[in-house]
Amino acid sequence: MKFEGTSSYIATEDLKVAVNAAITLERPIIVKGEPGTGKTMLAHEVAKSLDAEIITWHIKSTTKAQQGLYEYDAVTRLRDSQLGDEKVKDIKNYISKGKLWNAFESDKRPVLLIDEIDKADIEFPNDLLLELDKMEFFVYETGETIKAQNRPIVIITSNNEKELPDAFLRRCFFHYIKFPDPNTMEEIVEVHYPDIKKDLIQEAFKIFYDIREVPGIKKKPSTSELIDWLKLLMTDDVDAKILREKDPKKLIPPLHGALLKNEQDVHLFERLAFISRRENENVE
């Protein structure tokens, strides 16, 4: 089993090495990176390329580790006992399986995505230490041990809102997806829109990387935003010439709403664009 990237996902060399190491050693891999660099996508693509089932577990601030294993529904059981339901005799009827349990039960080696682990409480990763290490856990209510039939490929994403505990990190591989350089970016766009006009791409790229370089911008546009923007440009059939526009009245690139997501950034950008154009004119 080796991950080589897919027709719809460009994986850099270092990412491939990290993912393959995690697959071979059957250990979780933590993926960090700027928002929109394809962290969550990675898990889906790994599953696709290995032809494995994907089980996603989205983490929220209220998520507890136990919920990933199983939940015991005491309230329903209490009600059923009052109503004299037959089901009440078997405790198994009230245990609902969590994502980890599902993953452990799978016949074929699945991909388990634990998305945005940093959203949860600081203790959350520690509570899953043993479960992810040994790939087994104990169900107290029924006294059975659930052991993984096939150790799932665990991909964990983090947005760096909280530091993860050392003990947890030590057991994982780590990869930081850095922002793609223009060459990789070209491949990524190619994969998404194979028939986009070459000159449009070039002009769009220039604007995109220029915007990312604007000092003091609060939210830098990311890959996914570039892809959206290109899509808009294509649907509107914007000509590359318009992107090359030097008219000071049309300073802001068309459909910039897809790239700049907050009004301070738009103001800042307008101001800077104005200054730079004015300088250009002076030179001319």
Partner: protein
């Protein structure tokens, strides 16, 4: 060889453990990557040993140091490109017009000679500008430039013919470098500070909600709520004397106003850089000083440390023993700062000087590096980010 590398990493105080090293060995053993390819080994070891992007740059530096001279035979450095080879290539690819341009510069030999000289003079990677070899400039040497008679080095590089080694690119060197400047407003800063101090993960019994819920459901339903207790403990270090005094005053007011929000708050003064002693009363600083060792031993490592200072001084004051302007320090400021950072994991530096000047001041860059980029401007945005960093 690998053991040495591991100890080099330890030496550079990267948080690597035996478990991770064994993991790397296991991966090598299972042939995750082709073990004869240094690049792959670099990727693998990075993924196994580094667990926080903050350390990536440090790792790159140690890797480069430990495996110097071990790179692929194909991974030639710029200096090793044979002259004839370039000459032949030039004849093959240059247009007649471009060849004429070379002649106008004094001929091919002259150009090569200058290139050699420049290579000798220049030890660092360079970008922009008009003299040095690098990228994006107008110098005749380097890639992506505007000079038509330039020698293009490494512009269209093949996969195995990288002129610069991957780890030498230091791509992660400014991972968290962009901090915003905002308006100065002490009230908002205070609110941010309070928010920081009042976050807690522990839970306590929510009595009202439990009673309500129990009545509603007909059985005892215990409700918990997050405990809002002040559990943040802070050590503050203020730079006093000289240009910093006005800023320190603002800062002191700010933190005293937020004082009730912290479980413990201790403050100390230092001058320019941290050395073997700090003091609490500025008037009696020469009599009543406190040994820095005592500070390190008194306050446990769960304290959060905030340095406030402009970090503007002569670089010697940080890097050399005896560099202090006031007395003879046995050990360098860097040693003391590193010691401090080794004890207190959550430490940041607040700098009242606007961020855009930091890179131009050598000492500020050094301290920023010592703090692994955890230096923030003394603005709302900066304080906000600093507190977020401390809360991690």
């Amino acid at each position: 060889m690998f053991i040495n590398f591991f100890f080099d990493l330890k030496q550079a105080s990267l948080p690597v453990s035996l478990k991770e090293y064994l993991m790397l060995m296991e991966a090598m053993n299972k042939r995750v990557v082709d073990s004869f390819n240094v690049n792959d080994f670099y990727y693998l070891s990075r993924s196994a040993l580094v667990k926080d992007e903050r350390y990536l740059d440090k790792f790159d530096r140690v890797f480069g140091h430990s495996f110097k001279g071990l790179e692929n035979p194909e991974g030639e450095t710029i200096k090793e490109i044979p002259e004839e080879w370039l000459k032949l290539m030039g004849q093959k690819y240059l247009t007649d017009e471009e060849k004429k341009m070379i002649e106008s510069l004094g001929g091919w030999d002259k150009l090569m000679e200058t290139l050699k000289q420049r290579l000798e003079e220049q030890k660092k990677r360079h970008q922009g500008g008009s003299k040095w070899i690098g990228t994006g400039g107008t110098s005749p040497f380097g890639a992506y430039g505007y000079n038509p008679e330039g020698i293009r080095i490494g512009q269209k590089e093949g996969k195995n013919k990288k002129a610069v080694k991957v780890w030498d690119k230091r791509e992660f060197s400014n991972l968290d470098g962009d901090v915003e400047l905002g308006t100065r407003n002490i009230k908002i800063a205070l609110r941010r500070l309070r928010k920081f101090a009042r976050e807690g993960a522990e839970t306590e019994l929510d009595l009202d909600n439990t009673i309500k819920s129990t009545a509603h459901k007909g059985y005892i339903d215990v409700k918990m709520m997050p405990e809002r207790r002040n559990k943040i403990k802070v050590l503050l270090f203020f730079d006093v004397g000289g240009s910093m005094d006005a800023h320190v005053k603002i800062c002191e007011e700010l933190f005293s106003a937020a004082r009730t929000e912290f479980k413990h708050m201790e403050y100390f003064y230092y001058h320019n850089c941290l050395y073997d002693a700090v003091w609490k009363d500025n008037n009696r600083r020469y009599n009543d000083n406190i040994k820095t060792w005592d500070v390190l031993h008194t306050y446990p490592s769960d304290y959060k440390v905030i340095f406030v200072g402009d970090a503007e001084m002569s670089p010697y004051e940080i890097t050399y023993p005896g560099g202090s302007v006031e007395f003879w320090n046995e050990e360098s400021g860097e040693t003391w700062l590193t010691r401090m950072l080794n004890v207190y994991e959550n430490a940041i530096w607040l700098n009242p000087i606007p961020e855009r000047y930091w890179d131009r001041i050598a000492s500020t860059s050094i301290i920023k590096q010592i703090f692994s980029d955890r230096m923030f401007p003394l603005t709302i945005e900066g304080i906000d980010q600093a507190m977020r960093e401390l809360n991690k």
